[in-house]
């Protein structure tokens, strides 16, 4: 009796172990794919141009843009960058009729779009380079 149970169970055990490994690998796969696709959706996002490991503070590779996005060093911003050259409330991105407008919030070191320091509100075009402190972003609009 026991022999028969044991003989059946050895196949069951192997199947369970492999299902377990498969499900873990699948989860890890979803995890990795999840990182890559968030940026590749048909949305608007900021892409980091600097090499991530060259910056001594935490920056994401991609920031997806919502209707209003504020960037700065303080915690109440959507995009928090701990760069000492970034002001507490540095800039604001506002969506209006499908376009994004960049507004500098009187930052100490200013915001540069394609190398020009901006004074008031600027409409962003696909491929604009936004420099804030030591960080440079690429503005990508895929809509």
């Amino acid at each position: 009796m026991y022999n028969i149970v044991s003989l059946i169970f050895k196949y069951v055990f192997i199947v369970i172990i492999y299902l377990f490994i498969l499900s873990i690998i699948r989860l890890i796969y979803l995890d990795i794919r999840g990182i890559d696709t968030t940026a590749l959706d048909n949305t608007t996002y900021l892409k980091l141009i600097n090499r991530k490991d060259s910056l001594p503070f935490k920056v994401e590779e991609y920031y997806a843009l919502k209707d209003v996005i504020r960037l700065g060093r303080a915690n109440n911003n959507e995009i928090i960058i701990r760069d000492p050259y970034v002001s507490k409330n540095h800039l604001k991105l506002v969506k209006d009729e499908g376009d994004y407008y960049l507004e500098d919030l009187n930052s100490a070191n200013g915001t540069y779009v394609n190398g020009n320091r901006i004074m008031d509100v600027v409409r962003l075009k696909n491929g604009d380079r936004i420099r804030v402190g030591q960080v440079e972003f690429l503005y990508v609009n895929r809509e």
Partner: protein, 412 residues
């Protein structure tokens, strides 16, 4: 998000199913005189593992896979140990319970205390102190002088020194800019390491010698800027290995039994040949649990558990075990890559190398791919101190998988 939640349950439930079936198998085996303690302890373990992985998902923002992988390894190990010797199996269940507790304790301690990277000298000093304690109070069990016996308990200090070594290396290379300016800074580190290796060699603990050397070399290879030191290190190891081969008989025995164990089958090659017989007898699907003869192999519950698993659960389970270690080490490297703080990056790297090399040495040794050195498979083999140390290492890895940088800045 919702879909993801459901997916996390799949491996967890498979694990519970696996453990319940194993418990049922024990029940089917001893149906006449069933031991109630087995049932209670078994159910306790299953619920502890289930609840722990559930809690971990809540309290930790880091990796969710390493704990699951490890609990699967433990389940396979406990089933096999219980089959070989029910009493040891019960002990192993208790050790696992304590281990999971230690996992959470080390997780909270490592996370709450800041400044781990500043205590380089402490790690070195503590390791040397532990070695000296082993020499003074240690007892020789099975040829190796690496056990300390206090009352009923015995433990191996080398298991703790492994973790201290990783901390030592990580704190050294995390403060590399500072130590680089000290004259012969890196030479001091190499000197300390060779002191450890010399201690281990005198203790005749060859497996741990190789383990320490590989962990050190890997981290040195990644972080040392003076590349010439890596060459010196390799050369020194080769030469001292050769000298060790000719001077010490216990090193030579390992090599002879590796090259051709069959002519020594009646004495020193007995263990490895029995291991090979056992793996061959199992075939692809194994003989079935309880139907093989793993008892023929000496030390089957610790070093040779892999052969017993291959015999009774099949080479497919053996391959599964290796794959589990593969994804565990992969996760460890992934954690190291995404960690921003350098100290924990190196610690995560060191721990994953430790798990990887340790399992590689013993899998390779048991399969006669490399010379055999007695060492435990982390989480699978029977052994209290090995289990506890592995769980502490896992707790540290869990901390390293979290985003530590963000929290530190919020204190400003």
């Amino acid at each position: 998000m919702f879909k993801k939640r459901i997916n996390y349950k799949v491996p967890r439930n498979l694990l519970v199913l696996f453990e319940l079936l194993a418990l049922f198998l024990i029940f089917a085996h001893d149906k006449d005189n069933f031991n109630r303690n087995t049932l209670i302890l078994g159910m306790a373990l299953i619920s502890i593992i289930y609840i722990s992985s559930f809690i971990l998902l809540r309290i930790s923002t880091g990796d969710n896979y390493i704990f699951l992988i490890v609990t699967m390894l433990i389940s396979i190990g406990i089933i096999m140990i219980y089959r070989i010797d029910p009493e040891l199996g019960m002990k192993q269940i208790i050790w696992t319970g304590i281990g999971i507790l230690l996992f959470f304790i080390s997780y909270f301690i490592i996370k709450s205390i800041k400044g781990w990277k500043n205590w380089t000298l402490l790690y070195g000093g503590a390791s040397i102190a532990l070695f000296l304690i082993t020499f003074i109070f240690g007892s020789r069990i099975k040829g190796s002088l690496n056990w300390i016996i206090i009352g009923k308990f015995s433990f191996q200090p080398t298991e703790i020194i492994k973790i201290l070594l990783i901390f030592l290396l990580a704190s050294y290379y995390a403060n590399y800019e500072k130590y680089k300016k000290v004259k012969y800074g890196s030479y001091c580190l190499i000197g300390t390491l060779y002191l450890f290796i010399a201690f281990l060699f005198v203790q005749k603990d060859l497996g741990t010698v190789i383990l320490f050397y590989f962990v050190f070399s890997a981290i040195q290879f990644i972080y040392e800027e003076n590349r010439r030191l890596i060459l010196y290190n390799t050369l020194f190891f080769l030469i001292s290995g050769l000298i060790g081969y000719f001077m010490f008989s216990h090193v030579r025995v390992r090599f002879e039994t590796w090259l051709n164990p069959w002519i020594y089958i009646d004495n020193k090659g007995y263990q490895i040949t029995q291991s090979l017989f056992a793996i061959a007898a199992g075939g692809f699907f194994g003989t079935g649990i309880g139907l093989g003869y793993p008892d023929f192999i000496p030390e089957v519950h610790t070093d040779f558990i892999f052969s017993a698993i291959c015999e009774e659960m099949g080479i497919f389970t053996g391959i599964g075990l290796i794959m589990l270690f593969l994804i565990l080490v992969y996760r460890g490297f992934k954690i190291a890559l995404s960690q921003d703080e350098k100290f924990f990056k190196i610690v995560a790297l060191g721990i994953s190398i430790l798990f990887g090399i340790q399992s590689f040495i013993i899998f390779g040794g048991v399969l006669k791919m490399i010379p055999l050195t007695g060492i435990t498979i982390p989480f699978v083999s029977y052994g209290g101190s090995s289990m506890l140390a592995s769980f502490i290492a896992l707790g540290i890895l869990q901390v390293a998988s979290e985003d530590l940088n963000l929290e530190e800045i919020e204190h400003e």
